[in-house]
Symmetry: C2
């Protein structure tokens, strides 16, 4: 009999609520012979306030012993900006070498979009997760004085860029349209831009069936609102990926339905799956949060672990549920979870 | 009698065509007693191919002797990415210390937007123009090998941040809504983010009437499509400003109508005004380009030089023209220019 050994990090704010529904749907969809074991971790604002810790070496060891990680949301206004982001979220991505940050965008039938004319949207962003301006390189001198200088260093390596570009080409090759767009700013960030563009072109030669193109990040934001149908797979750097995936989520149904995976394809460390949205403390504890993004993150988690059928069943259930929403009164977090669990089980 | 001594850089592609219309409207709107003198400069792809030069010290001296600069567009696929951007556009912004990059976004009646429901859009982005990741700091080692490392250094100084933040507060104070939003990514780029946030909060104390808020750049892109009416004035770093102003242009009528000013408020060097769009070589020379963004850039230029009435007359003419477009057959570049020139003269 098989087993799925899951680390669960509900985190802060609505994280608790949405993760509960994610687990509900996971239990409902898993084949009978798969033994699901979950271990909950209390990372986030409460633990930080209680102990001053965000993520220790012992925590990392404990997390490492799992097949995957499901995270709700981390962050609270009571913690200074950056402490939990750098001390937990980014620390985990870096420690477990989550270099493929996978963020699909699909506008499902019946889902509202701020764009006119209900365009077709079905693309996936492969965002680099361990380099770029996210490394924490840089510093400050003369802090707080009128002579302060603060730097942020974007670090880009051939090793780091090539592996994520290869991952993106493989994903593009596996999709019907087989199209890959590199998004960067190689006309201004010429050092990093040259590295990204060169490696992209080199790997492209190995994928003759994949159509490629290039967009500056500023132009990419234009096309995301004027012609999102032009995108199939996008590969981009860590910061550009952060920016365009929030925009992509906004145009394809909102961050209430945007899922993501922080993936280590080698399997040396567990991958982590989380909704793109944050902890939304303003609506926490009220049963108002939409658990759909977490449920879709569970689908990404299952696909990553080889449960393709189960992942597809979750996605179909979400599609069907979203398609019917227009006709229904608003439901609570757990009501949506119940509906989805019933659908995937049935 | 007064004089306006203008350096004109038509540049590449459609730059030639749109600048001609910008000058047509400028001549039509200027009071009789103002002597307009223009000097044309041949910067851009042709000059680069002919001489290898993009912008020499002698060029800078020649440009310096003018009250302002009007630029069409620089860039051509025949020139490697980055050469004209770094060698001309950015070199000029840095040499003339254009630290206030002003980019208004206003959705005018009758103008198409990709957003559903024709939202109200009327804000201005104050983008820092001489620091951040645009400084060209950084480099490459082991270029072309599998061990290549490329860095880009974002440089942020208290001096550079404070002057642009002050400019933005003054602009917010002068607008009816008096609201200023800082856009950054201070939860990840903590060194630069801390500097920006601290200075923003310090200057805010001097402007008690200005309402302030803060958004991460990724969240800002969401609001730009879901609730653009929430923005009045935005102040942000060079790269974030580059990205969000293209998105802002897209939602508020497209880059065909997006104007910008690269301003040195001290007046030590001439400021430069240019449409946000590029050289669009695919439609160059066909009379298809919309000169509206250039004409609106002329309005920004006039306002900068103190011709407030003339600037407003151009903006009114553009408003009226755009409002009537739906009923008219498509017009050529020069037909649009003629219409606008007639309107501002009348
Ligand atoms: C919270 C923050 C550190 C994070 C990021 O910038 O990557 C978030 O915006 C995301 O996109 O997952
Ligand atoms: C062409 C390029 C150098 C420029 C920039 O990145 O600033 C452009 O995108 C702009 O916004 O003016």
């Amino acid at each position: 009999s098989r087993s799925l050994n899951l680390a669960v990090i509900p985190g802060d704010g609505i994280g608790q609520e949405v993760v509960a529904e994610g687990l509900k749907v996971l239990s409902a969809v898993l084949p009978q012979d798969v033994k699901l074991e979950t271990k909950e971790f209390d990372f986030g604002a409460r633990r930080y306030h209680a102990t001053g810790e965000t993520l220790t070496d012992a925590d990392l060891d404990a997390l490492k012993a799992h097949d995957a990680i499901l995270l709700g949301a981390i962050g609270d206004p009571s913690v200074p900006s950056g402490v939990l982001e750098r001390g937990f979220l980014l620390k985990l991505r870096f420690a477990f070498d989550h270099h493929v940050n996978l963020r699909p965008s699909k506008l499902l039938p019946g889902v509202a979009t701020p764009l006119a004319g209900q365009p077709e949207i079905d693309f996936v962003v492969v965002r680099e997760g361990t380099e770029g301006p996210y490394t924490g390189n840089g510093g400050t001198i003369r802090k707080g004085t009128e002579h302060e200088v603060a730097t942020e260093v974007s670090v880009n390596t051939a090793y780091g860029v090539e592996r994520v570009v290869r991952d993106a080409f493989a994903r593009a090759q596996a999709r019907p349209r087989k199209k890959l767009t590199l998004v960067h700013k190689n006309n201004v960030l010429t050092f990093a831009g040259h590295l990204w563009t060169n490696i992209f072109n080199k790997v492209a030669a190995e994928y003759p069936e994949v159509t490629t193109d290039y967009l500056h990040v500023d132009a990419a934001t234009i096309f995301l609102v004027t012609d999102p149908a032009r995108f199939d797979v996008i590969v981009t750097d860590n910061l550009f990926g952060d920016i365009i995936t929030d925009l992509a989520a906004a145009v394809s149904g909102g961050i209430g339905v945007a899922a993501s995976g922080n993936i280590n394809p080698s399997g040396d460390f567990p991958s982590m799956f989380e909704p793109v949205h944050g902890s939304a403390p303003d609506i926490a504890g009220q049963g108002k949060a939409d658990p759909t993004a977490t449920v879709l993150s569970v689908a990404l988690l299952l696909r990553h672990l080889g449960y393709e059928d189960e992942a597809a069943r979750i996605e179909d259930a979400v599609s069907a549920d979203l398609g019917e929403r227009g006709d229904l009164p608003a439901r609570s977090t757990s009501e949506i979870g119940d509906t989805l669990a019933a659908r995937v089980a049935g």
